[in-house]
């Protein structure tokens, strides 16, 4: 909202320099966005919040200034001479839709059309309005000055001199002032004539009754429109104007007579015409001013500082509220232009604004105790730290994805009704697909060969109960972990991804994880499916993993229970087992554990070998067996007895043993 200081000075004197004025207004809620020009020509650009429709004009800002510096606010000059026959002889107004239009005022003005004087044009241009002709300019000028929009119809082009306020009828059309012919479907209000609609109610006038060079007399309309009706019509038509912006936020129902009077006053002042006698005012159900109670104790209690009664009173009356004292509290009448105020809390804000929030004391509310992260939250942080510690970089991808990327056999995704684009039309059901694959592809295009990334975030899906969401953690590894000149480059594979998962298990203390082959989504085989690699133009193998985060963190164990350190040494024995290629480490390990007895403390895979001298189709696994008894030193005989049992069991299972 642009406010030329020269215009402001017509209504209020203020002791501050432009910059200072802007800063002072900032504190009361009209933030200074910019300052153009200097001295008398300075123009403030104020950021008026959407609730303060009363400040979207010069006079409203002047009212704030008057309270800010405790200086008088001069009234608008609404005086004007009346000439000619009574207005209602030439113009008749009917409100057929009072739900749309609670009040409709009109005057008939005889005009001498022409350009506006320079001062008027300059002011309009200073506030960003293009001058057109003196009649239209005055209507705009008054809107920018005191906030109420008005509209001038060429009286000669209003059939029979009749205006009828009503809802648009099905299939009606109207060409508006911007030259666009519009279909008036749905609940759109119009100002109609005897031959069809003449203007869009509260939004824009129509071309057929537009003021032109031939215009000699105008019907000047200033109405008060139902805010919701204007808002809905404006949205339905996709047409947002200075007028609709004000009406849909709640204009001043008492302003229409003043708005027409101010136009008449200025018309006479610039010598461009005169008003015919009489105001046509259709206001079937006048709206009384609203009132609410205010307790000064409540003001102090909300602000956290004692507020002096005279100060509160001065602020409220300066803003146009009238204050009546009642037992223990005030009855406060709300001015008609403050549609944003309705209850005590609003009045507390009015007082607080002008006392200055910045000048209030600062206190910190006492804490009732200490707080800490919940176990799930600590575990989530541990996941991030473990992954970053393992050399993975955290990425955050959009939750929106293209529905086309769902991949084979993916369950349906939740779709957005109003996406920004088809590329972002659905909510992801996986972090890897397509999120981390997109990360991979984008970085490949930048020439990356080696990549280790992870993401934590939610995925979405449909359930019979409605949309559901779940937290996940996913990793993607490609290429070498830490390439070095001293060693061969080794690209990441399945075991790197599995290792990251195992690392998470260990860092969270979730106990043993079991890995089962199969059941993976269609895009894996066992790394990325070749179809996916091709579709995504990926050059290298990538290994991925995706886990339910809440399942993982819920299994986290903390704190750890200490176990006494063993006092006796451990005995280690190695065993090489040769079997067919299908032999898995887990099944051999299970046989070892079962046969070894309780002295066996640990089994680990030391080596897997499937090249000569191991015959084709066969594979050798070397296991390290650790024997230990915490209380005593084991004898060679008891260890050998256990190893013999293991060997016998493995041989019985058809496996070949080397070593012991």
């Amino acid at each position: 909202m642009k406010v030329p200081l020269s215009w402001l000075r017509e209504f209020v004197e203020f002791p501050a320099e432009p910059r200072q004025l802007g800063e002072d207004l900032t504190f009361v809620g009209l933030a200074l966005d910019g300052l153009e020009g200097r001295g008398a020509d300075a123009v403030l650009d104020l950021d008026v919040t959407t609730n303060r429709v009363d400040c979207m004009n010069v006079y409203g800002v002047a009212r704030e200034v008057s309270v800010l510096y405790d200086v008088p606010l001069r009234p608008l000059d609404l005086s004007f001479p009346e000439e000619g026959p009574p207005a209602d002889q030439a113009l008749d107004v009917t409100i057929e839709a009072p739900d749309l239009c609670p009040r409709f005022c009109a005057r008939v003005l005889d005009v001498r059309l022409g350009p506006s004087p320079a001062w008027l044009r300059d002011r309009l241009e200073a506030v960003g309005v293009r001058p057109i002709n003196n009649v239209v300019d005055l209507s705009n000028y008054v809107m920018m000055e005191m906030g109420h929009p008005s509209h001038a119809f060429d009286l000669a082009r209003v059939p029979d001199g009749r205006l009828i306020v009503r809802w648009a009828r099905p299939a009606e059309r109207l060409t508006t002032l911007d030259g666009v012919e519009r279909a008036l479907a749905g609940r759109v209000g119009v100002v109609g004539g005897t031959e069809g609609p003449l203007a869009l109610a509260g939004i824009m006038g129509g071309a057929s009754s537009e003021v032109s060079d031939d215009t000699r007399a105008v019907a000047l309309e200033a109405a008060w429109w139902d805010p919701l009706s204007i808002r809905r019509a404006s949205k339905a038509l996709g047409l947002h104007t200075e007028a609709s912006h004000r009406f849909e936020r709640g204009a001043d129902p008492e302003a229409p007579p003043a708005a027409t009077a101010r136009v008449a006053h200025l018309l006479a002042k610039i010598g461009a015409g005169a008003a015919r006698p009489g105001l046509i005012d259709r206001y079937p159900a006048p709206r009384p001013r609203r009132a609410t109670g205010l307790r000064l104790s409540r003001v102090s209690a909300m602000l956290g500082a004692p507020v002096a009664e005279p100060q509160a009173r001065q602020i409220l009356t300066g803003l146009g509220f009238s204050v009546k004292e009642q037992a223990g509290s005030w009855a406060v009448e709300i001015p008609s232009w403050r549609s944003d105020v309705s209850r005590e809390a609003d009045l507390v804000e009015e007082v607080g604004r002008h006392l200055g929030v910045d000048r209030l004391p600062s206190t910190v509310p006492a804490s009732r105790g200490a707080e800490g992260l919940r176990p799930r939250q600590s575990a989530t942080r541990a996941v991030r730290e473990a992954l970053a510690g393992a050399g993975l970089t955290e990425v955050i991808n959009y939750a929106f994805v293209s529905d086309a990327d769902a991949g084979p056999q993916a369950p349906p995704r939740l779709r957005l009704a109003n996406p920004l684009s088809e590329e972002q039309a659905a909510l992801r059901s996986s972090l890897v697909m397509p999120g981390l694959l997109g990360t991979l592809r984008a970085n490949l295009r930048h020439g990356r060969r080696d990549m280790r990334v992870f993401e934590l975030g939610r995925v979405f899906g449909a359930t019979p109960e409605g949309p559901a969401e779940e937290s996940r953690v996913a990793v993607l590894l490609m290429g070498a972990a830490a390439p070095h000149w001293s060693s061969e480059r080794r690209a990441a594979d399945f075991y790197d991804a599995k290792g990251v998962v195992e690392l998470l298990g260990r860092r969270l203390g979730v106990g043993a994880l079991t890995f089962v082959a199969g059941g993976a989504p269609g895009f894996l085989h066992p790394g990325l499916h070749p179809d996916v690699t091709e579709a995504w133009e990926l050059r290298d193998e990538a290994a991925v993993a995706e886990l339910e985060l809440d399942t993982l963190t819920a299994a986290a164990r903390a704190p750890v229970r200490f176990r006494p350190l063993p006092r006796s040494p451990a005995v280690e024995r190695d065993l090489s087992v040769i079997g067919n290629e299908g032999m898995t480490a887990a099944e051999v390990e299970a046989r070892v554990r079962k046969a070894a007895g309780e002295l066996l403390k640990d089994v680990s895979v030391l080596k897997r070998y499937a090249r000569p001298p191991i015959p084709a189709g066969r594979v050798s696994l070397t296991f390290g067996l650790v024997y230990q008894d915490p209380g005593r030193t084991l004898t060679g005989e008891e260890v050998q007895a256990s190893v013999d049992r293991v060997v016998a069991a493995l041989r019985a299972a058809g496996l070949e043993i080397r070593g012991e």
Binding site: L32, D358, S362, T393, A417, L420, W485
Partner: protein
């Protein structure tokens, strides 16, 4: 055979020559291999010169064998001792040689494991969480990203057709009334409805939010932290003190803070907080649009209509606006990170571009 008939003198007579040969050969040894060769020549198990002499002892009579054996043993011990001494000598020489010649190129890259890092927004978010944890706030982050009109708008004093809804262009899901939350203020409502110790509240709610906006200052997905404190006797002064403490902890106490009136539908009074521009120090620059201030945080006293909406949903008056008051605040995590790192395009955070992410070391 003549040899077998040899006397002890025959053997003993050969010893000086053997010693002479050994001396000469030893003097010529330059390295470990030469030394080994020499040892084999004299002491080799099968055909060492000394070994062969020991073999000839068998042909002697008892007394002769004893005398010659003693001489031979003396020589053998001498040979072994001198071989050992020479070996030690050579080894010492080797070490000196190694010390003279062994070098590392300290400029070659060291062997570092893979280096990872958390996202810069994660770092900021956890820092914010830690500051509020230290002030006794619970971190409430388990509320849904897909929510509904009641929690996102209606309960926050934005009834249908409220103009304030224009400020937050909303993503809706197909079919039904579900939407992507436009702010973490939904956390206020969700927590109050399931509060384990009503009516007291002291929480922050970090999380992702969504709005239909996409340019260098707006991302369709971004992150906020909402805060809510409800209790008897909470004041606007409490809000101010809390925000000051928080901003000082986050940015340092050297930056001025100002509070000005503003508007949010769910707070009354509403307050906007500005921080002295950390780029120019307040003198005015492009980042602060020459004002010297950066808008950092919106807040206010909880609007009684919010308490009333929650009470209606609960079916009883749990948060009586006459008994309890509260304050709420919200800030954008990206904004803090952008200010801190001098980032001018919000979309970089969500581009997963490693050239960007790897600039951050935490």
């Amino acid at each position: 055979m003549a040899e077998s008939r040899a006397s002890s003198e025959g053997i003993v007579r050969e010893l000086p020559r053997l010693r002479q040969d050994f001396d000469a050969a030893l003097a010529g040894v330059r390295d470990g291999a030469g030394l080994q060769e020499l040892r084999t020549r004299f002491l080799g198990r099968k055909s060492g010169e000394l070994t062969l002499l020991f073999g000839r002892l068998g042909g002697l009579k008892n007394e002769e064998r004893r005398l010659a054996g003693a001489e031979l043993n003396t020589l053998k011990q001498e040979v072994e001792a001198r071989l050992e001494a020479r070996r030690a000598e050579l080894e010492a020489g080797d070490r000196e040689e190694r010390l003279r010649h062994d070098r590392v190129d300290v400029t070659l890259p060291g062997r570092v494991g893979p280096v990872g890092r958390r996202h810069p927004l994660t770092v900021v978010r956890e820092e914010l969480e830690d500051i509020f944890l230290s002030m006794g706030y619970e971190v409430y982050d388990s509320f849904p990203e897909v929510d509904d009109d009641f929690h996102c708008f209606e309960a926050l004093n934005m009834p249908p057709d409220h103009p304030a809804r224009d400020m937050q262009d909303t993503f809706y899901l197909e079919g039904g009334d579900r939407l992507l939350r436009t702010h973490t203020s939904t956390g206020q409502i969700r927590y109050m409805l399931s509060n384990p110790h009503p009516p007291r509240v002291r929480i922050i709610c970090p999380g992702k939010v969504y709005r239909r906006d996409d340019d260098i200052t707006h991302s369709p997905m971004f992150q906020q932290v909402e805060g809510l404190v409800v209790r008897a006797g909470i004041t606007l002064a409490d809000l101010k003190g809390t925000i000051e403490a928080f901003l000082h902890a986050l940015f340092g106490p050297q930056y001025p803070i100002r509070f000005r009136s503003s508007f949010f539908p769910y707070t009354e009074p509403s307050v906007e907080t500005d921080l002295g521009c950390i780029v120019c120090g307040g003198g005015g620059c492009r980042v602060c649009k020459q004002t010297g201030w950066l808008e950092i945080l919106g807040s206010g006293m909880v609007h009684p209509a919010v308490f009333e909406a929650v009470n209606r949903k609960l079916g009883k008056v749990v948060y009586d606006p006459e008994e309890v008051t509260g304050f709420a605040f919200g800030l954008g995590i990206e904004r803090v990170a952008m200010m801190r790192h001098g980032i001018d395009d919000i979309r970089l955070f969500y581009g997963s571009d490693l050239r960007f992410l790897e600039q951050f070391h935490r």
